[in-house]
Amino acid sequence: MIGVFRAAWIIARKDLVVEARSRELAYTTLFFALSCVLVFSFALVHGAESPGADRATDAAFHSQLAAGILWVSIAFSGTLALGRTFERERQSETLRALLLAPVEHAAVYLGKLVTLLVLMFGVDLVVLPVVGFLFDAPLGAAPGLLLGVIAAGTLGFAAVGTLFAAMLVRAHSRDVLLPILLYPIAIPVILAGVRGTAAIFAAEPDLGSAFLWFSMLVFFDLVFVTLALWTFGPAMGE
């Protein structure tokens, strides 16, 4: 038997090779995320400008809007990627072959999580500068903390999403069920991500508050990943 982490890496590397050839997930999630940002920015920002509002209120509103749109695009594009990642394993029933391998089932979960994180981090790194440009968000105010908030939030979202996507892989209406099950559980992560990012994007960044939200996201990550590792094996049972 091989260790969990080595098996997870073997599975993730296979997924990344498949993705590098087809580029199906990378293109669709990226296109979807950028579309979200552009649509929301043109629809909301221009409509939200009111001549009577003072500059400070306007700036605070824009920073929160930018953070919200960033996380909506991350969550929506992530959901798209989640469904397709497991759809590939459904074709030819390769998920059964993975579950038949002499590795702990947690390795299958971790491998899928790593694949999804690579994909979502890639989308994050493209979308973030676009949001910064469109909303004049101060990306350089606390770059380390900003990347930390984005990374921790993405990990939390992907951790829960990977578990639910795996559980729904044999369900007929999985595409409909995934967001219905995923979003209520992932809301704390998305909210913490929005608040932490908005605190950094503010005209006068509130780094103390941002760090608090970042710590909360790390806590969520620990809880979600632990619970997912614990429940993945039984959930994949039959």
């Binding site: 390769t94 993975l98 038949l100 002499p102 702990e104």
Partner: protein, 243 residues
């Protein structure tokens, strides 16, 4: 968990039943197989053949009864047992976007196969796919994929091999080659359990066969002079079961 290799010489299915809600897929099935045997599971569609293979593969737990591998239950042995089982399902468990070689290497790594490159070369040779090793599987015909999938299921030299309709999509030459391959595995001490509708291919190949109908398994008469072909013995068993 210990990393020692687990092995067994016998598989016993004792009074195994499996229910999906109210529907009964298997009912009190009894079956024993030893290393160096080919067992056939015959029966109409929905008779429970694939369910029994899934139970043997440890993918499903029986609702009642037990399966013992060398006298031990699957939950006693843990993940190591799966390292001694090879499965060729009706779905072939191959990645279409990977090449033939990459598919074998991937599953070989998961099974921690020693001398992987040599073993993969041997498997490609056995599947007669050496010259197409670098082609993506999505471009293969059903027959080529079937041959590759068989080698994928054997890449880790399993003791127990479970085959679900292994002759599907194969031409005459490939069917003969597969039968020869299964005989050589049997001679090497592998226990093979095969669910099939292809009586002609299975006749003379299986050592013992069971007829499954409505979840119940009935051992067919052994082959012998005047007892007829496998198909005839199967039909007699069906008639007796429904009498």
């Amino acid at each position: 968990m210990t990393d020692a290799v687990f092995d067994f010489r016998e598989v016993e299915v004792r009074d195994v039943s499996k229910h999906y809600g109210r529907r009964r897929a298997l009912a009190h099935v009894e079956l024993t197989g030893r290393a160096g045997e080919i067992l056939g599971l015959l029966g109409p569609n929905g008779a429970g053949k694939s369910t029994l293979l899934s139970v043997l593969a440890t993918l499903m737990r029986p609702s009642g009864g037990e399966v013992r591998y060398g006298g031990r239950l699957a939950q006693e042995v843990g993940d190591r047992l799966r390292g001694r089982i090879g499965v060729l399902g009706h779905d072939l468990y191959l990645y279409g976007d990977l090449t033939a070689r990459e598919n074998l290497e991937f599953f070989g790594r998961l099974h921690r196969v020693a001398n992987l490159k040599v073993r993969v070369d041997q498997a490609l040779d056995a599947a007669r796919l050496t010259d197409r090793a670098r082609e993506r599987v999505s471009g293969f015909s059903r027959g080529l994929r079937q041959r590759l999938a068989l080698e994928r299921s054997l890449i880790h030299d399993p003791r127990l091999v479970l085959l679900d309709e292994p002759f599907t999509g194969l031409d005459d030459a490939s069917t003969t080659a597969l039968a020869d391959r299964l005989r050589s595995l049997r001679d090497a001490g592998t226990l093979i359990v095969m669910a099939t509708h292809d009586f002609d291919s299975a006749d003379g190949l299986v050592d013992r066969a069971w007829c499954l109908q409505s979840g119940r398994a009935r051992l067919l008469e052994a082959a012998g002079p005047g007892l007829g072909s496998l198909r005839e013995r199967y039909r007699r068993a069906l008639v007796e079961a429904s009498a």
